[in-house]
Amino acid sequence: MVRRYLRLLGIQLKASGLLAVQYRADFFTEGLTSLFWTFTALAPLFVVYGERPVVEGWSFGEALLVVGWFTLLQGILEGAINPSLTGVVEHIRKGTLDFVLLKPADAQFLVSTQRFLPWRAFNVLTGLGLFVYAFSRLGRWPSVPGLLSSVLLLGTSTLLLYSLWILTVSAAFYVVRVDNLTYLFTSIFDFARWPSSVFKGVAKGALTLVFTYVIPLALMTTFPAEAMLGRLPLHALAGAVVGAVVFAWLARRVWLHSIGHYTSASS
């Protein structure tokens, strides 16, 4: 069972890889634009830390780590998650999801792996670069347990991101015209640019609660950054792992429920 799905994943990856190799020049254009977009994340940071040495307990180098995680996850989002799932919306709109549902494999698996854009994942490299820069600014290197737990959190963050996307796409079964749901999603994700304690002062901390428990943005960028700095408490780490698994399970239930509502578009 698992081997079959791994083989399927291999086939899908190979197809996307072959497509990507056809557009090799994209590697450079995507890379350049990725570096450019990173600038929009960094510019406010430079201005803010020009005014203050520390904001809500985060120094410049530490906040840079959060931006690094934001950029890295953006790479995963744009390279591995977005392309497939915009495809699903298209399938639902045109009614061609029929062909996917007819195939003898899990529909969620098939639609989630249908397309990868490796060049878009350039942001992952930019994010790693930011980590190196941030730690050289801080003048120290992350501890081994810190690094290990941040790698674990990379897994949970990706899982959370993917589950959030599945939830968004499930909405497409009910409201069909959702072409720009992608933009809506990325703009909500924008709130993950800053350390979550920045939101403490707004609405008596309600926003922090929302971004930790409802839309778990804090778990995606702030937690891994704290783990790298070696100051994430163990119970928060455990909470993040359990939370991510529960969230993924919930997303799966919602997906199964909404696919029951799918009606083909043809006559």
Binding site: T29, T33, F36, W37, F39, T40, A43, P44, V47, V48, G50, E51, R52, V55, E56, V175, R177, V178, D179, N180, L181, Y183, L184, T186, S187, I188, D190, F191, R193, W194, V198, F199, K200, G201, V202, L207
Partner: protein, 267 residues
């Protein structure tokens, strides 16, 4: 393609554009929701100004500034570059070229006709700003309102003309979307969209005063929040409209050169 013909067609074009804006109101709504960047930055700056004001900005001033930014962005945005890119690639531009009126006027009319719908979003945001910040969030004098209208028009004109100029590059290169992305990044960083430009170091400010970006968002917002006396505003408005003239010339030039190379496909 006389001027009188264009003038005669305008009311109809505007009506069609308005009907389109009404028909796609749900999409516009999602689009509006997706411009959360000012809110993301508002939260950050509020945290920075929690203990002491930054420059002349206290927490409330930041709320006023960024809500005005949100509203102004709604009123001054243009998406003609994507439209032109799309129509050039699909060949549907040929339909527009057949009509006895320049496509540029049609694009402009489409954009302007969306204004009423965008006001429906912008006005409540400004009302909210007044509720949160008090009456200083909006201009106190009639002349300031008049200048605000001029500044918004100028800001929109720069956005639109830059969009046309960049969009028309697709005649030469097949696609100019990457150029548009680069422009957007510069616009985000230099326009006062992510932070008030007056918080930047003096050397950078001088540079930004000479670039078009701050006249797209920064200037209307500053007029809205009453940052300048009338003499200063008049000076800045002069600079803004000088940029409108430069952009207008550039847009028409690139368009005229480019449209000669256009060849439609299909039948």
């Amino acid at each position: 393609m006389s001027f009188r013909n264009t003038l005669r067609a305008m009311p109809t074009l505007l009506k069609v554009g308005f009907a389109e804006a009404v028909a796609y109101r749900a999409e516009m709504f999602i689009w509006v929701l997706s411009t959360t960047m000012p809110l993301v930055n508002m939260v950050l700056w509020m945290a920075v100004a929690r203990d002491a004001p930054v420059g002349r900005f206290g927490q409330e001033d930041f709320v006023g500034y960024f809500l005005a930014t949100f509203a102004v962005r709604q009123l001054t945005s243009s998406w003609a570059a994507w439209l032109i890119n799309w129509e050039v690639r699909q060949g549907t531009l040929s339909m527009r070229l057949l009509r006895p009126i320049s496509p540029l006027w049609a694009y402009a009319a489409e954009n302007v006709a969306g204004f009423p719908m965008r006001l429906i979003v912008a006005v409540p945001v400004m009302v909210l700003s007044v509720v949160l910040v008090g009456s200083r969030a909006v201009p106190q004098h009639a002349w300031q309102w008049a200048f605000f209208v001029v500044a918004v028009l100028g800001g929109w004109a720069i956005s639109f003309l830059a969009n046309v100029a960049i969009g028309a590059l697709s005649f030469f290169w097949g696609s100019s979307q990457k150029v548009m992305e680069v422009w957007l990044v510069l616009y985000f960083v230099c326009s006062g969209y992510m932070y008030p430009v007056e918080l930047l170091p003096p050397a950078l400010r001088t540079l930004i005063d000479w670039l078009p970006f701050r006249y797209q968002i920064g200037l209307p917002v500053e007029v809205m929040t009453g940052a300048h006396g009338w003499r200063e505003v008049l000076w800045l408005l002069g600079a803004q409209w000088a940029w409108v003239a430069v952009m207008g010339t550039l847009a028409v030039f690139v368009w005229k050169q480019g449209v000669r190379r256009f060849a439609a496909f299909g039948g």
